[in-house]
Amino acid sequence: MNANSRDVLLRRIQVCDFVLSDTSLYLNIHPSDQKALEHYRKYAELRKNAHMEFVENYGPLGHEDYDGGDRWKWVDGPWPWQMKED
């Protein structure tokens, strides 16, 4: 299986974050709305998978993604906000 490109995964995470954020605002005033909760679960799962795939293939997205190994890979750029490798 070909891995998704770095840009595709970053975009997916970004979009999922937005959907989750907007859904959370709705849930703040409808805490028991099952459809909204289902929507949240769906995109939380999508985000989690995209995040895992990104970290596996392109390194940490944040310092909390440290893999426990003997190298602090965060410094091995490009950083997430560097959209194109120079």
Partner: protein, 119 residues
């Protein structure tokens, strides 16, 4: 009631003379056209207050209060809104929602912003 209406017009004239503009989100409220409340505002359920006043009389009372002072030095009236609770309907596809700034089609509204006070 007639006196109250006249009073309302007088207050409105005074507001306009001072360059104040009343902005109602329910509808454009034209002081010169009618003393009745905008139709959209009457359609929503207004919680019953324990005040023996008609909506119109309350409007008159609100108009006679001092408008809030803005930091920019202009005065506008404070606003009150009655808005229904949002319901979960369909949502945009994620990419569409991301570009529109909301995942809710019913909240994807044109921004027809106007400054509430001049300058």
């Amino acid at each position: 009631m007639e006196y109250k209406k006249n009073n309302m017009y007088q207050m409105a004239d005074q507001y306009k003379k001072n360059g104040w503009r009343r902005v109602d989100i329910a509808n454009d409220f034209n002081y010169e056209q009618t003393a009745e409340l905008p139709s959209a505002a009457t359609e929503v359920e207004v919680p019953q207050l324990e005040v023996d006043m008609t909506v119109e009389e309350r409007a008159v009372e609100m108009l006679s209060e001092e408008p809030g002072e803005m930091e920019c030095g202009y005065c506008i009236t404070p606003a009150m809104s009655y808005t229904p609770m949002q319901k979960w309907n369909s949502t945009y596809e994620p990419e569409i929602g991301f570009t529109r700034g909301t995942i809710f089609p019913e909240l994807d509204l044109p921004f027809l912003g106007e400054e509430a006070c001049e300058e």
